[in-house]
């Protein structure tokens, strides 16, 4: 197993290489350059040329690419033009914010969706099932931004239960209890919104898996042993039905760092999603390229994690 994991990591190198080329050229071909924003009627073209020369933008592209990738490999992604800060540091801070938001969201999401999916599947066609289906269709039909704005208006502005933007109140210093409470307070509303919107897929998936599993031959065998129906569900039906959910778990884990563009933007939460969208808007190349590379790496890592998880939970899949 370890051998396979190491081999998969080695296989990631060419994949990431191709991705880095793509990212590099996309950034190159985007109109404008980092100095476009500095241009005023008074700007001396010679001054711009000088800046470009200094930044190495006039070098042939292979030289630029090697310089960029060489620095990136050392964790050096340059300076953000917008924030005037080290990109790695900036992303690290935002990733941490996003991580807490996503972690809480995913935990809440699974605590809502798994029991509902199981109930709907087990009591298929009952009134309970129909209510759950109705709930999941409604949440599926509501666009993210509509529910976000609605919650923000209702619980943020009208009832003032939750703050409407930011990740922590500035008056508290890091390390105090009030600081962490304030962080949690900021996370709650986006978390709930995110969790409610994400439940549909899991509920529907689990429900149909359970309905399918109920008709399986091995369930009939289990029932023919005369064991209580409750045990048939817990030991035979649920375990098999949760497999497809486990298959996505790897992506869910690495996705914790990805963040949600909609949620973070609307709730003014300084996370990865918001950083990504604002860096595109402001042509902050060093941030964009670093983020795309990171997302690419996370996706590859997610698929590896999923494979490892599947090989643990399903004996039929062994990495050999």
């Amino acid at each position: 197993m370890w051998k396979i994991i190491v081999r998969r990591f080695i296989l990631m190198i060419p994949q990431l290489f191709v991705l880095s080329l793509l990212v590099f050229f996309l950034a190159k071909f985007m109109p404008g350059d980092p100095f476009t924003g500095l241009i005023t009627p008074q700007t001396d073209p010679a001054r711009l040329e000088e800046l470009s020369e200094k930044a190495g933008l006039n070098d042939p592209w292979p030289v630029q690419y090697v310089r960029w990738i060489g620095n990136a490999l050392q964790g050096e992604f340059g300076i953000s033009y917008t924030f005037k800060r080290d990109v790695a540091e900036l992303i690290g801070e935002r990733a941490l914010n996003t991580f807490w938001l996503s972690l809480l969201s995913v935990i809440l999401l699974y605590t809502i969706a798994i029991p509902l999916g199981i109930l709907a599947g087990r009591y298929h066609n009952s009134r309970l099932d129909k209510t759950i289906i109705l709930y999941s269709f409604i949440t599926y039909a509501i666009p993210t931004f509509v529910l976000s704005l609605l919650f923000l208006y209702l619980f943020g502005y009208k009832l003032e239960w939750f703050p409407t933007s930011g990740s922590v109140d500035i008056e508290y210093s890091s390390g105090t209890i009030q600081y962490y409470w304030s962080k949690l307070h900021h996370i709650l509303l986006p978390t709930i919104t995110y969790a409610i919107l994400g439940t549909t897929g899991i509920i529907q998936f689990l429900r149909s898996e359970i309905i399918d599993a109920k008709a399986m031959d091995y369930v009939r065998t289990a029932r023919s042993k005369g064991i209580p129906i409750k045990k048939v569900y817990t030991k035979h039906i649920f375990r098999n039905s949760l497999l497809p959910i486990a298959a996505f778990l790897g992506f869910t884990i690495t996705g914790l760092l990805g963040g949600s563009i909609f949620i973070e933007t609307i709730f003014g939460y300084p996370g990865m999603g918001q950083l990504f969208i604002s860096s595109i808007a402001s042509r902050d190349y060093s941030v964009i390229t670093a983020l795309v590379m990171l997302y690419g790496f996370l996706t590859l890592l997610g698929s590896l994690l999923s494979d490892i998880i599947m090989s643990i939970v399903d004996p039929r899949i062994r990495i050999e």
């Binding site: 066609n125 399986m216 031959d217 091995y218 009939r220 065998t221 289990a222 029932r223 023919s224 042993k225 005369g226 064991i227 209580p228 129906i229 045990k231 030991k235 035979h236 375990r239 098999n240 497999l243 939970v313 399903d314 004996p315 039929r316």
Partner: protein, 334 residues
């Protein structure tokens, strides 16, 4: 045979499926008895109701879509009227079931040993170690060479024959008085089939259980059965001891079944087939001889209006009277 030898008695059983809010009998008034130490074969084409009959006995049907009426008497209890909890006391411990497809009938995520052990947890008072020991005994009993290793394996690591042995081990784990085997050899290749049948016979000699063997394989019937029940369209149309039915089949359907077995020395290179198909549940004529439509060359008056089972020889019952005039159609459209 003495009355005390009867361990299962089914009286006028009707199992109906709901299709578009109406119930249609898939098993239509079946009565039969099973004796200790006996192998009773139930034979018929696909869709004749034989598997439905089997699952009705231990209540393994989808209750939201199925209605069961009649009596299934086991030890003074009518299984039809028992609730789930009471049925669970009988399932696995008194009546064991062996299924057709050995791969899909085992839980892919559970070790073989654990699957055999499950029934023991609920039906015996054995301790955990005793159960583990019993599992190994059972695996040995069904002819598995290295039980310790197999008990720790998962179903996909075993061959088809091995899996069917595991299914049998599950079925006999609590020494049931009745075994229902629903096409136990259909999914296996011929050499394995013979081994599994030998195993069933050996187990029966050990335990004295009554076995209901559901099959469409007449070769299997000839090899192991004591008595044969032939079903057609939800009804029993012929019932006789195995020798009797092979030597003197009476009902046109039974005779057609035998006739359709390929003959090694036959000069014809065409298979004899039974014309038409089993009528579907929803448009099955419920009165008159149900086989009449498939032997149209027999005159209408030969059939009984309400066909009954008639005893034509000791313990040999045939439904309808059309058998007296039946002959194979030589007209060429068979």
């Amino acid at each position: 045979m003495q009355r005390t030898d009867e361990i299962l008695k089914i009286k006028d059983l009707h199992t109906a499926f709901r299709i578009n809010d109406r119930y249609y009998d898939a098993v239509d008034g079946v009565s039969l008895t099973l004796k200790r130490n006996e192998i009773l074969a139930i034979v018929g084409e696909s869709g004749c109701g034989k598997s439905t009959l089997a699952t009705s006995i231990i209540g393994l049907y989808d209750q939201s879509k199925t209605r069961v009426q009649g009596e299934i008497l086991y030890k003074t209890q009518n299984l039809v009227s028992l609730n789930e909890d009471h049925l669970n006391e009988i399932r696995g411990s008194e009546i064991g079931m062996i299924f057709q497809d050995p791969l899909s009938s085992l839980n892919p995520l559970m070790r073989v040993g654990d699957q055999i052990e499950e029934g023991l947890i609920y039906h015996t008072k054995l301790s955990s170690e005793e159960r583990k020991k019993r599992v190994l005994e059972l695996l040995q009993q069904v002819g598995i060479q290295n039980p310790e290793r197999v008990a720790r394996q998962f179903p996909h690591q075993l061959s088809g024959g091995m899996r069917q042995r595991v299914i049998i081990a599950i079925a006999i784990s609590c020494k049931p008085k009745i075994l229902i085997a629903d096409e136990p050899t259909t999914a296996l290749d011929v050499t394995i089939q013979a081994q599994i049948l030998d195993l069933l016979l050996a187990l029966q000699q050990e335990t004295g259980a009554g076995i209901i063997l559901i099959t469409h394989d007449l070769g299997v019937v000839a090899e192991v059965a004591d008595r044969v029940v032939v079903m057609y369209a939800g009804e029993i149309i012929e019932e006789a001891p195995v020798r009797e039915i092979f030597l003197h089949p009476k009902h046109p359907y039974t005779r057609s079944l035998f006739h359709s077995i390929p003959q090694m020395y036959s000069s014809s290179d065409r298979l004899n087939v039974i014309q038409g198909m089993v009528p579907s549940l929803t448009n099955l004529p419920r009165n008159g001889c149900r086989f009449a439509s498939r032997i149209p060359w027999i005159r209408k008056e030969a059939h009984e209006k309400n066909p009954h089972l008639h005893e034509v020889a000791p313990n040999h019952f045939v439904r309808c009277t059309c058998w007296k005039e039946f002959h194979f159609n030589r007209g060429g459209n068979t």
